[in-house]
Symmetry: C2
Subunit: 297 residues, 2 copies
Amino acid sequence: MDIRQLRYFTAIAEEKQITRAAKRLHIAQPPLSQQLKSLEDELGILLFERKARSLELTEAGEVLYQKAKHLLEKVEEAVLEVKEVGDGLKGVLSIGSVKTCFSYIPERLLYFRENYPLVTFRLKEGDSSLLADYVRSREVELAIVRLPLDMEDFSCLPLPTDQFVAVLPESWSVPSALQTKQLSDMPLMLLHRTNGVGLYELVVNKLKEHQLEPNIICDCPDAAMLLSLVRSGLGVALLPKSTLPSFSMQGLKMVPLEDCLIESESAVIWLKDRYLSKKAQRFIETFQSIELAADGR
Amino acid sequence: MDIRQLRYFTAIAEEKQITRAAKRLHIAQPPLSQQLKSLEDELGILLFERKARSLELTEAGEVLYQKAKHLLEKVEEAVLEVKEVGDGLKGVLSIGSVKTCFSYIPERLLYFRENYPLVTFRLKEGDSSLLADYVRSREVELAIVRLPLDMEDFSCLPLPTDQFVAVLPESWSVPSALQTKQLSDMPLMLLHRTNGVGLYELVVNKLKEHQLEPNIICDCPDAAMLLSLVRSGLGVALLPKSTLPSFSMQGLKMVPLEDCLIESESAVIWLKDRYLSKKAQRFIETFQSIELAADGR
DNA sequence: GTAATCCATACAAAAAACGTATGAGTAGAA
DNA sequence: TTCTACTCATACGTTTTTTGTATGGATTAC
């Protein structure tokens, strides 16, 4: 039995005539007679009672007609849904993001969902090297991470570079801007990945390049913890500016670095030369178009 | 899209390998590759992610797999059910029966249902000519009727001939047997069809053949009414013997006709040279085998 | 009785599916 | 690394299936 045969059969059942059904199906009449016969032979039963002028369904034929109609509907439905999923119009998209980049997410998710309302999201977070592993193991399809990162396995879409700012306790007497060299006098606190090379090393190296010996009193993988420590007056945190919108700044003061030497780069990454779902592709396109729009401003 | 292609696809999805799936399907590997490709082309989407050693379903592939599995089950189910109905093992069988033959029914229905427990019944009643019309218009597939009847449109299975008996009020002084000629003295009551020629004419003609002028004081299409009239002492009813088991004989007395001149014939009838459902055919076979068994006694 | 319809069959052409042979790419072992 | 083993994809010829054309038989409408 065949889907085509079922279509033929239902056409005959509805037209009650092979000739008319053949016209409707845009085929000649004899093949349709034959297909009906072969279906009847295969089932070993008579589906139509051949009356003089028209064909009438037998009881078994009626049963098959009801089933076939239902089945054909289901088939159509399945094809449509599979196509939607395949075209990235529907499905679940797993994304990872480091917390310090999370401020990029909401706006873009909102925009994406306007265009693809059937796509839902599953978010994971972690530091960049963990997220890179998630991408490699397919736990997420793409991730928003801070560079540097070993990019051998990944394709990427760079996000706008991001200046580092200093975050000081509000209680401190705070200048409106800082020179980088002033930092060496202050107790610094930096983000540090649980493993791998990242921002921490970037900052330390940058400062050393300028013959500055930083006074790092704490490193921590979590920005919220870090900011709490600042709030308590322990020291000064150095963070990419884009990190801050996600956190409460109560009791804190952000101060830009006047001679900004340190910049942070972020990027959307995904597995290079491997299957990437359509919805992930569309998500990346969305990201891209938003960057372009932002550039245009 | 094709049922075969869905079968192929699910096999690949389950085996995660085209080679293994091809073995399972008893075909060579290349055609299976082709069929998969043609399915993917038709849908316009990738169903499997070609990994080095095995194929993994994409999200769209996973959706199709779930749908396909379900669809294939439904197809199997539909085929089985259609076959059952077509083989007469399942369905609704519409039967008509005149009340005076109803005593034939219960035993045979019981026996039939032992062999075909999924077949259910829809019973209609009426006089023989009405039932003949029901058969012609397909309101019932077969009917149990009293002859005579215009048999041009029908095939039939004759049932055992049936002697007429007289039914008298119990209160009357009743002989243990009657001569037919004694009937002419008595007030007779006969069944009479609402239209058409039937038992009534049969009886009247038979009596006239023997130079007996019957004294018919009532005719009535319904046996129950007729027997009520007898019970009240109005007269004597002449009925086929097989009619009586369906009715209460309280206040009545059945008396055989000694020189039984009048016989009634019944038959199962159905449309000649037209489609007859398998279940009806089986019902007729059952009837036949019961008659044979009864003859053998 | 004739024309018009409709279904079924016969046969040829076109399309689809299949099998064999073969090549390219990758994983695991030597 | 090289070699082997294994998998998938492609090319091409063969077989099977499906379709179209031509035609005959049966039935209805005029």
